[in-house]
Every structure is written in C-alpha cells, then in structure tokens.
C-alpha cells in the first residue's frame, strides 16, 4: 500500500462506504475460533467453490455474541444480511445451499434482534418464529401453524417460515419477526396466526396489539466496527469504517483543542477507576520533561472480562488510532501496546495493524505531512494480573518484576523510564476516534450526569446469552441481564450480579434496577471495573464466590507489601474454613479487621480493593456466612452438592503453606 496523504484521507471521508449485498462474514476471534470458526470458514470456502458461486467468504471480528459462536453473517441479494449462530462446519454447506442459492433461511440458527420497526414497507419474505416462554417450547408447532396458514392462502411458496435461534426478545411467549422489515410480534397465540398472515403478511398492516415496540438498549460506539470489518485489513477500516478520520480531525486541531473535545465528551477511563481522560492527558502534557510516552493498557486481567480482547481482535486499527490521537494530544512520539501474552490473536492482529499503518505512512515521521511523528510497539504481559496497575505495568515494560510503586509520583509526572506517561485502557482509546469524528457533545449525549457515553460489559456466568453488551451509561443492570442477555440460564432466579471483577462486589437482586454509573456502583459497594458482569443464580454460594475472587487476588498479589500479601492469604484461610463448615463466629470479625488493614494500608489498588468481594457479600449476604458457620460441615457439603460443583469443600490445599 502506498503511503497515504491527507488528501487521500479527506477523499475517503466524503466517499460513501461501498454497499455489498453478497458476502459471507465469518467472525474469527478467539472465542469464535474456540467454537470452531476456523473450520466453519474453511467449510464455507469449499462449499461456495463447490457451488461455483462468486460470493466472497470474509473474515471479520466478533460482534460480541459469544454464546452463539461461531457466528456468521450472510448476505444475498433480496434479503437483508442475516446473522447465523452456532454455525459449526457442517452447517456451512446448508447455508450455502439454502441461503445463497435459493434465498431460504435455515432453521434454528438465525439471530435477528428486534429492531423496533413499526412499518411493513416491503413485502414480507420470511417469518421467523421462536418461543421465548418458559416451559415446553412451542416453536415447531407455531412454525407448522404458519406454514399451514400460508399454504391455505397459497403463499407457502413465496414466504418461508423459519425457526430462529434468537430474536432479541426474551420471556415474551411466542415471538414472530417479519422480514425484511423486522417487525416483531410477541406473545403470539394460536388464534393470532391467521390474523398475522392475513393482515400483516398479505395486508402489510402492523398489528399494534402484538407489536414489540421496545428497542434494543444497546448503542455501539466502542464496538462500532466489531464484527463488520476485517480486522486484518487496513483498506476495510479506511473505506468501510471511517478509519483514521478521527485522527485527521485531531491533526487539524491543536493538541489543546483535542483535549478540550475530550473534556466536552466527559469520557472517563474505562479500565476501572474512571479518571477523566482529558485530565490525565492534560497532566501528562503539562510536564516539561520530554520525551513523553503513551501506553495502551491491554492487560485485561479481570476473570470474566473479554471486551478488550474482543476489540483488539476485531478492530485493532481503531485502538491504534485512539493511541495516536492520545500521542498527539499529550505530545508523545512513542506509544506502547501492553497486551497479555494469553491473547495471542490480539497480539497478532495489533502487530499486523502496526505494520500496515507504518506502510501506509500513518505511523512514523511526519505523519501525513502534518509534522506529527509517532510510532508504537507491542510489549507482552507474562501472566501477572497486577500489571494492570499503572506503576506495575510500567515496571513490567521496563523489564522488571511487576510490583507497583508508591504514587505520587504519578505516571503522568514520572512514568515509563521516568518520562511523563499517559496510560489508557483499550476501551477508552477505542472511544477516542469516534469522539473526535462526531464531537464531544455527541458522545456526552449518552449516559448520565456524571458518567457519559457508553460502556461495554462482558456479561457471563449463569446468563442465557453470555456476550459483550454495549449500552449507554445509566442503563439498569436488570435491563442488561434480562432485556439484552435473555435472563438467567435455565430460568432460575437471579441472586446477584457481580461487577468489577476481583476488585468489585456483588449487587443483589433488590438493587438490580440501579442505573449503571461509576458512582452508583460504588455506593452499592462494588465498582464499574473494566466491565465484567457475572450473573449468579440462587444456587451459587456467596461465600464460595467471595472465596473465588479472593483466591484470585491472593494468587495475583505481587507480594511486595505486607497488608496485601499476608492479609489476602489469611482471609482466604478464614473463608476456606467457613466454606468447609468449620468457621467460628469470631471469624467474621477477624475478616472485617483484615479487610480494613488491607483497604487502608495496601500500597496499590489490588490490595486496597481485594477485600471488596468479601465486604460486599458480607453486606448483602451475611446470613449465608452465618449459615455456614452454624450449619457446620454437613451444611457445607449440602451447599456444594446443590451447586453441582466439584467438591469445593476440599481443603484449600495450602500446598505452599503449612497449615498450622
């Protein structure tokens, strides 16, 4: 690729994205690959070749619907693009034969989120049916009923009825979606079948009493390109995703103006602490010493969080673009991606993005002739959660043990190799190009008073659709879990949602209507963290959950300071005793005392927040602790059996430590 010029970029900006109506896009991120997407990709290629079709089979990143992996998007003339989930290799030839060759959808794989459409402008071509209710599924019965009704009216040849995999509506009885418009009816009963066919399919009238009017609360800013572009193609990013237009917008202004735009946007660090991004940049920029550095923190360590991996794998250029804008704003010519070594695919794609950007003249000296010089490198983590902490991350890049150091001095004053350094999380940086392109005010239009914009959550655990969700700040936890992710697995009752990873806390059912924002979560004893959201049902033991998170922190403590090193370990011993039914009443007081010492006297955030899971479970579920203590070993065994886990009652093997 020959080096780009500012004019080239300007031309790209005014050129509309090419519309393609014929493609197969296979979502190839680590999650998809784990589910067999590579095989699916190969199967599509050979099936398309065997059918002598010219349909391009393309690689894209992930939409975030991990539960449905492998996910494939298929477009053929005459139909809107359709998402298929659970497309193992053996499904690929079926899709080629049905969808590409005869315009028919295949059963049980289509994902068609309710669009909120309320008009039937074009003739209906397909009906999607899914029973979202509890109990015996009646999907097949309704499919049969619709087909029969269509047959009766002689329409069966023109209109297909397919069973869907997911229609973005949950617990609303039988749901029917009419394509291509996307009009969705819920709680459809048998008598409605004829009505729908007659009035809506034939008469193109919308039935208001059945119409699903709610729209998906999701807003995709960070994930704007994920799943729709090829993460390994710079042209795709440039032509189809307004690639590097945010950078162009930034370079047209002064660094101060760029920072001002960020200030207007209200963007706060998405790594957890929520420090205003503009302020961090300003604090770095005002340092007199040079050179300065900017680091992308891709050491996503919270267990159960994978938004950073997904963004790096699915849209690496937008993170790089954000990093470059940050570099321009703070006056840094050097950037680093610090990425977990456990994310080889992300590393590979960022590596490729860097090479492409360098080749296109987007990295290097005098970028686009603007006088701005910038380049970036990758540094790998090596399996240490604490390296997500800024000073530990810096130590790690410097080739040392990832032990945090006292702040002040803050990295903005003395960071990497003593240079003023701004460290931003992947998600934060992915927001930046969009803000520069569409304006801070646009971004600030989403969210709440204190917490602007959107946030990506990785919703996992006992949830139906474990996936990435991007919603405006202020959306309630309940809406995220139930409206977007389909509710609790096996329709059990929800007990709590854990947010913020090992530094976070549990939020019980009664508080799930809280709008998500940094402050509100804090008031509930949890934190936003990087956006992990773990759904727990009534069979999950909160003592066990606290122990799980605490064990994580104990394993990941750097060991430098006594309160964290010993405090976490000793709390774990106590929790272990309790969870085996061998705790004593005074153990609770001891836990609280150690929690206080850790919170107040630990050197870094890891130690200061490690007690949160314990404190928040004590706050909302102290009766569970009491039950373990009073119920003794037999109760503990009963709980373990109920959870179906593999004997959590076994002693916590302090293999490394002598149990006194």
């Amino acid at each position: 690729m020959k080096p780009l010029t500012l004019d080239d970029l300007a031309a790209l900006a005014s050129r509309p994205a090419p519309v393609t109506t014929d493609f197969v896009r296979v979502q190839l991120d680590t999650g998809g690959i784990a589910a067999g997407a590579e095989e699916t990709f190969a199967a599509f290629r050979s099936a398309v070749a065997a059918a002598a079709l010219s349909t391009p089979v393309l690689r894209v990143g992930s939409h975030g619907r991990s539960w449905a992996d492998p996910v494939v998007e298929v477009a053929a003339a005459g139909l809107p693009p359709v998402l298929y989930g659970g497309v193992k290799a053996d499904v690929a030839p079926q899709i080629v034969a049905a969808h590409l060759q005869s315009g028919r959808l295949i059963d049980d794989h289509v994902i068609a989120p309710a669009s909120g459409a309320a008009e039937l402008a074009a003739p209906v071509t397909h009906l999607l049916v899914l029973d979202t209710g509890v109990g015996e599924a009646k999907t097949k019965f309704f499919q049969f009923s619709f087909v029969e009704e269509l047959k009766r009216r002689g329409l069966a040849d023109q209109i297909q009825v397919a069973r869907a995999l997911d229609l973005g509506v949950y617990d609303e009885g039988v749901v029917v979606t009419l394509l291509p418009a996307g009009v969705t009816y819920t709680n459809v009963l048998a008598p409605d079948v004829a009505r729908i066919v007659e009035q809506s399919v034939q008469g193109r009238q919308v039935l208001d009493d059945l119409l699903w009017k709610r729209t998906d609360p999701q807003v995709r800013i960070v994930l704007r390109n994920c799943g729709s572009i090829d993460p390994e193609s710079l042209p795709d990013y440039l032509e189809r995703a307004h690639g590097y237009q945010g950078l162009r917008a930034a370079l047209a202004r002064t660094p101060e103006q760029v920072i001002e735009e960020l200030k207007v946007s209200g963007l706060r660090g998405r790594g957890g602490a929520g420090f205003p991004t503009w302020l961090k940049w300003t604090n770095t920029r005002i340092q007199k010493s040079e050179p300065r550095c900017v680091i992308c923190n891709g050491d996503e360590g919270d267990p159960g969080a994978f938004m950073d991996r997904s963004v790096l794998e699915s849209d690496p250029h937008s993170v790089l673009e954000g990093l470059m804008i940050a570099g321009y704003a703070i006056g840094a010519a050097h950037g680093y991606f610090y990425i977990r070594a456990e994310y080889p695919k992300a590393v590979e794609r960022v590596e490729r993005a860097l090479a492409q950007a360098r080749e296109a003249g987007l990295l290097g000296r005098n970028i686009l002739g603007t006088g701005f010089s910038f380049d970036a490198k990758i540094r790998l983590g090596a399996g240490a959660f604490v390296c997500g902490e800024e000073t530990a991350l810096i130590a790690s890049i410097e080739g040392k043990r990832g032990s945090p150091s006292p702040r002040p001095p803050y990295p903005s004053v003395r960071g990497l190799w003593g240079r003023p350094t701004a460290i931003n999380n992947v998600e934060t940086l992915a927001n930046v190009p969009a803000i520069l392109l569409r304006g801070g005010a646009w971004y600030a239009g989403y969210g709440t008073e204190t917490t602007k914009g959107t946030k990506v959550f990785a919703v996992t655990g006992k949830v139906k659709n474990a996936q990435l969700v991007e919603v405006p700040m202020g959306t309630t936890l309940r809406s995220i879990v139930f409206d977007v992710c389909g509710g609790v697995l096996e329709d059990k009752d929800i007990k709590a949602v854990q947010t913020g990873g090992p530094s976070g806390g549990v939020i019980p059912d009664k508080h799930l209507d809280t709008p998500v924002a940094y402050e509100t979560l804090q008031q509930l004893g949890s934190i936003m963290g990087s956006g992990g959201m773990i759904v727990m049902d009534t069979t999950d033991s909160m003592v066990d959950v606290a122990k799980f998170f605490l064990k994580f922190c104990v394993d990941e403590s750097c060991g430098k300071c006594a309160p964290c090193r010993i405090g976490g370990f000793q709390m774990l011993q106590i929790l272990d005793r309790i969870s085996r039914g061998r705790g004593a009443a005074e153990d609770i007081a001891a836990l609280r005392r150690i929690c206080q010492a850790m919170q107040k006297a630990s050197l870094c955030g890891l130690g200061q927040t490690a007690p949160n899971p314990v404190l928040s479970t004590l706050r909302y579920f102290d009766e569970e602790y009491k039950a373990y203590i009073e119920g003794g070993p037999s109760y503990a065994r009963k709980m373990a059996r109920a959870a179906g886990g593999a004997e959590p009652a076994r002693a916590l093997a302090p293999a490394t430590t002598e149990g006194a």
Binding site: W67, A384, K400, G532
Partner: protein, 226 residues
Amino acid sequence: MNPSAHASGAGADPANESWRNDEGALLTMLEEVERKHGYIPQQVGDEVSRLLELKLERIKRAQAKLETGIRRDVQRHVARWSGEEGNLIMILHAIQNQYGYVPREVAMELSRELGVRLARIYEVITFYHYFKLQPPGKHNVTVCNGTACYLKGAAGLLAELRTQLGVGEGQTTPDREFHVDVVRCIGCCGMSPAVVCDGKTHGRVKPADIAGFLAAARAASPEAKP
C-alpha cells in the same frame, strides 16, 4: 576378551548386559565380580573404563554442542531486541516459546549476553507465571479458571484431568506426556468452561470430553508444540 563373558565365567549374570547403559547396574556388576573374585580383573576394569571414557567423550561433545547452540540462540534473541529498552521480558518470551521453559543454562547465558544479573532474571521469571523453569510436558492442557468458567464447572474439569492423568494444577505426568495448568482467564467467557489443549481452545467443555482431548493429543504428532 569380552568382560561380560568373563563376568559370566566368574558367575555374574551372563545375559544381563544392562550395565552397559545403566550406571547403577554397572556398579552392581562390579560389586558382584569383586565379591566372586575378591578383586576386579584387569580386563573387566579396562573394558569398563573404556566404556566410561567413551561415554564421557560423548557427554562432553553433546554438552559443547548444546552450549554453542544455546549461545547462538541467545545471541539471536538478544540481537533481535538489542537497543530496545526493557527488552528482558520480550527476550524471555522468545526463549520460553523456543524451549517451552527457561532452562538454567539459557538464563545464565542470557545474563552474560545481556549484561543483566542472574538475580534480576530469576526475579522476573519467577514473578510472571507465563515463564516456567521446568520443562513442560509434551502436551499441555490448560484449564481456564476465569469467573465464568469457574461458575460453570472448571473445577469438575480439573477433577476429571486428575482422574485421567493423576496430576493436578501445575503438575506434569511422570512420563512428561501431559502438563496440566490453570490460567486466570483466556477471555472466552462466552464459551465457558474452556480448555486449551496444545494451543487449541475448546469451549463448553464437559468432563466427559476430556478423555477425547487427551486421546487426540496422544494421537497427534509427538512433536506437538508446547
């Protein structure tokens, strides 16, 4: 004359020539001969020392080859990262990828080449769980224990691995065929619980699937990348 013939004539185990390859057996043979004769006959002694010298020679050659090999590898890695600040961890990654662990000799050589104290290198290696000081198994099975996987039964998978292989977290089977490890999260929470077997990630794993993975790994090439 063949000392084993001599030994057999002297009443030691005639057929068993395992002492030619096994030092323990060699000592037993010599003791046996000495017990029978009251001394070790010249010929036996000569043959044994000839064998030992040969062995020593071979060991030395192998060692020298290893050392040059190590030096060349380390120099290559250092050259790739020379001039880069804070390159130690990236070089250790390269070494870890090459050998599957960081052998002591390599760490020593790296210390010399890079001018970084061995103390610092070990501080770093032992801090980061990604780096290992022990050779890995031929096949590596890694169970993800992120929250999602934990809630959905990672412990059951580990228990199954223990049943199948007899080893648990961080351990290698005695025949060095399998190494079992636990990682904190591989970011496949949507597919939980997840297991990585020889670099391939499997999602929604049930304990019953484990036997199949192990069999497939065994059947795969013995050169399986660690």
